[in-house]
Subunit: 365 residues, 2 copies
Amino acid sequence: MIEQKLNITHRTGSYTIFIGENLFGIKEALAQQIAGSHVCVVTNETVKPLYLDACLTALTQFEVEVVVLPDGEQYKNFTYYNQVMNLLCEKHYPRDSTLIALGGGVIGDLTGFAAATYQRGVAYIQVPTTLLSQVDSSIGGKTAINHAVGKNLIGAFYPPQVVLIDVTTLATLSQREYLSGLAELIKAALIADAEFFIWIEQHIDALLKRDVTILKQAIMRACQIKQTIVMRDELETMHNHCRILLNFGHTFGHAIEQVLGYGEWLHGEAVALGMHMATCLSQDLGLLDQTSVQRVYALLERAGYALQLPVGASSANLIQRMRHDKKVYSNCLNLILLQRIGTAVVKSDVPMLALQSVLERYSAH
Amino acid sequence: MIEQKLNITHRTGSYTIFIGENLFGIKEALAQQIAGSHVCVVTNETVKPLYLDACLTALTQFEVEVVVLPDGEQYKNFTYYNQVMNLLCEKHYPRDSTLIALGGGVIGDLTGFAAATYQRGVAYIQVPTTLLSQVDSSIGGKTAINHAVGKNLIGAFYPPQVVLIDVTTLATLSQREYLSGLAELIKAALIADAEFFIWIEQHIDALLKRDVTILKQAIMRACQIKQTIVMRDELETMHNHCRILLNFGHTFGHAIEQVLGYGEWLHGEAVALGMHMATCLSQDLGLLDQTSVQRVYALLERAGYALQLPVGASSANLIQRMRHDKKVYSNCLNLILLQRIGTAVVKSDVPMLALQSVLERYSAH
């Protein structure tokens, strides 16, 4: 059942995000979006046994190939991108082919990049099956693969044909994966929508129970917020920094992920702690009042995030990592902070000392 | 000296083609087009000793890396694309970097694709040093690399920041390379500009002598023609076939290249013979008068193209190759033909028998 539609406009066109339950069999959602006769479904070993059959049932009138990749960020690279490209080339897929990304952010990014570059661009459909990809990576047209030197270094801005968010797929996520996605949802509220934050506070129990009705509303709201921000800064230009607000909690989060080693903490877990750090720093710098800090802490704690650094990550390690960040100039750091709940700002002159003082409070003793 | 500027608009912006002599040292042409501090020049082993120093002289205020690829279509692949990408990643090139494609179509296509996909798109400048790339591949925003299965299967539509056509670089081209480019120039006239064809007839001696004044005029005209056609059909969509007119002579030409083995005849050499074949076929099908056919023949012969098939390529081989072309339906072929000099049309129902009859006249005996 399609419950909600969100129209996304971008610099070269527009597409629709469908949000609902059991969308695979609905022709309007999937089959009608496919122009030609050739479809290639890209998924991974975890998602395949859960949703591939349902997806294929909706595609009986097409010529379909399936690529199943191993599950994990470490496979978002040239080797597996080439696996998709080789299949398309060898099967002589025509220019009106459609790729379907059935999985989380890794599958979406890699499939989107394959679509962006096969025969100079074919259509692709995002079918995100994780909360993180549903609220975050399906909007903005960013596609990419990783390079040994860094994440997402190779990619393109290339929007999908349609995004199909079936909230029933969230039932099968592990609790950690689910919470990882929920962090981005809370982030959307914190940076841009105070009312939505209140709504999350009120519905946190239902969200933690994965109530589908509440989830549909929350995802819709998060998508709208991201779209509003992305539309103002589609290509993430140097001249217009508003898209950078989406990185709230991420400079801390990335440092935590790196210090612990990628995969140890999930992205959203690190971002949740990072958001709390950024919130405390906002208070230290006189931007944010204490009540707001307490509300953020209460919500993150209620959701179940770890709000202390694990033994493997000292504040000294984090500081060192952030010092090497390209956003450091003359001992000051560029950071996204909160002015109040629902309003983020870019601060370009955060003293390293203030940062140090905050981080020390999170160290395990 | 910048002599002429042509403004190219495309769906997401615009860029300028500068045409002139000794452009490398002119800040307006090269250095002023570079936004950031990092430049990567991609060239090949043939072009490097001829023009790299002149190019680098214009770039002294930038951080510059140079990638030198082997010369040839067979190197337009993932291996050499990765070489460029690895360098950019490992040297931590920022998002405001600029790539410079110094060479022919292969360098332009590969560098453009690297620019399209490094950090989701950085700027690149085309400095085409062959006649073919000056009149043809610098316009239209097509970037690509080859796949073992076929040419240009992996790529993107990604326009350059600026195109710098320095006609003095044509002095160092071999006669075969030069004629290969001249064929595309004649093609532009044949499909879209009868007056330009007359002009070429009048100036063919100066063109063959590579007179720079005449060349600048000819290249400008050819670029304008291509731009007019491309603007109407930028993404080469299924719905709007006008860009396909640029393939005049190419269905025959590709078959000749394939039957002889790639590299045996240059692209433009095969296209020249292909254009003559298409012209004769146009007459056979009652589209074109004999005088026009004779004028085309006279010009191509004056320029020095081989207008007979070599021993290695029989008409039977060509027919067989074209039968397997994806443009064949129920024993009829899709071809670009001439209605008159300066007006090409798409014919979707060319009988294979008519094709056979034309091809047999070109066989070596």
